[in-house]
Symmetry: C2
Subunit: 337 residues, 2 copies
Amino acid sequence: MKLASLKHARDGKLVVVSRDLTQMADASDIAPTLQAALDDWSEVEPLLQKRYEKLNEGKINARPFTEADCASPLPRAFQWADGSAYINHVELVRKARGAEVPESFYQDPLMYQGGSDTFLAPHDNIEFPQTEGWGVDFEAEVCVITDDVPMGTPADKAGDHIKLLVLVNDVSLRGLIPGELAKGFGFFQSKPSSAFSPVCVTPDELGPDWASNKVHRPLVSHLNEEKFGEPNAGVDMTFDFSELVSHAAKTRNLGAGAIIGSGTVSNKEDGQPGRPVKDGGLGYSCIAEIRMIETINDGRASTPFMDFGDRIRIEMFDRDGQSIFGRIDQTVTQKEG
Amino acid sequence: MKLASLKHARDGKLVVVSRDLTQMADASDIAPTLQAALDDWSEVEPLLQKRYEKLNEGKINARPFTEADCASPLPRAFQWADGSAYINHVELVRKARGAEVPESFYQDPLMYQGGSDTFLAPHDNIEFPQTEGWGVDFEAEVCVITDDVPMGTPADKAGDHIKLLVLVNDVSLRGLIPGELAKGFGFFQSKPSSAFSPVCVTPDELGPDWASNKVHRPLVSHLNEEKFGEPNAGVDMTFDFSELVSHAAKTRNLGAGAIIGSGTVSNKEDGQPGRPVKDGGLGYSCIAEIRMIETINDGRASTPFMDFGDRIRIEMFDRDGQSIFGRIDQTVTQKEG
């Protein structure tokens, strides 16, 4: 099943979207918003599923689906926690900061508490008053959305709470990270509002490509008009989503609609940190990684962070080339003062 | 005006509460929930205010108000960011960790992104599967709740966005903090669900004790049956709430209903870190501070962190001795597993 939230009021208006992302049908009579649906998922999910089937069979009043009309599936959420499950990303970003990767990182997931009150829409501009010194970067990731997860749910049970999958652009301000991390309280200003893909899907939509609580498809990023990365989200993921959900629920209950992110998708290549797309590699899901590669190879980073006018597109395709989640498509613009 | 959310569904049911906290009147016809009220505050606030006045004048159908029936005013929220504005607390906690306080901490607020999907009710037990090694502590704090705050709002304007005040017990797991902070991503498992006071109030309820964007009243904590602290929330607050809100909004918009906390309220005494209540001092708003004082004075901490059965009460009184926000009253209990 595929779901989206049309831009409407603060929490959007729920629609079901056809598998090929061309048609949609109103679902707000079943649940007005995606949050409302998740609050009562076991009751609501079969009704949405039925409508989804009818939509795909052409047996229902449908309207054309336009990604640009969408808010993020949860335009605001009560919980957004982002892991960092691809150790290749952690190794590269740490190297870039001159920091070591502690041994514990291979057993204990890294996760930060994100802010979730004002997500950007998938095609919204990324507006900032300045880029100078802020180091505007994208991070292409996969996320799960859960129902209620009781405190202490072990990893072998946490996967049962995964109800939906979605992509995210976890916008990051690299220039602000070192100062914030030095203060010891983690990210805050350096992790501004994120944007999610127009569509979220139930895991069954991925067929065999959802396995072992991982998404086994390439995540494709284009920076401006060039392909920037297509690492496989199922490869080199040190902690699967059930482990990430369990980690998040260790000392608290998670509320329905909790979004748990994978961290920046990143693949190794023959045990090495991989190559840029233009050199025949799978590339990267953020600029920070290629800058580190450039620093290793050339002694200095040559790819700049994003500036006003730069565009990032993030998408994932199924085996038939069909976009699964629709496209995150954002341009950095200057906020008027 | 005083508002509360009766336990009802996931987001509570809005009531206005009389100034003396004895009576309440339904307000769910004006706005079903506090979040809904905050989403449309400029329209809704005058209607709630009118009902509040009638309630206090006895001109409306009222029912007895019972704090134990309350959820936290926002039972779940879209944004919960907690500052650490009382530098005395920061100095003591850092000393306890053997860490220095950087000079920048006196100019740039410390703030962490909290989780907001499952707040505890004010009289809920604090349930954990274990206390051993977790170092269960309370933190008594004051918070503001804002309307929509645009990105980049300067400190001299941010105060205008403060709509409500509330108390919080920011439950902390001291035993898990060093490990998490060492990972560099800030608090996560070490900051489980917080509980807020039964009632939130508009700043005018404090009269002259809300001034310069600070609350100038003692915050009273009792651990088990003994007074543990009564520092004044208006004293030694290095950053006022307008500065904290502005800090939180530097690179993002804040959504209506954002809760911004002060951090653990803590007063110095003659430039020193203060004395316990039993020694005639103002005491502390968390156990970590008294343990540090004990370590300084006696070479070792003697006050244990909270164990099953330990009770914490947090309250603030106006100049006439009237409880302003009602009482946070929680006991640590073992979660059945």
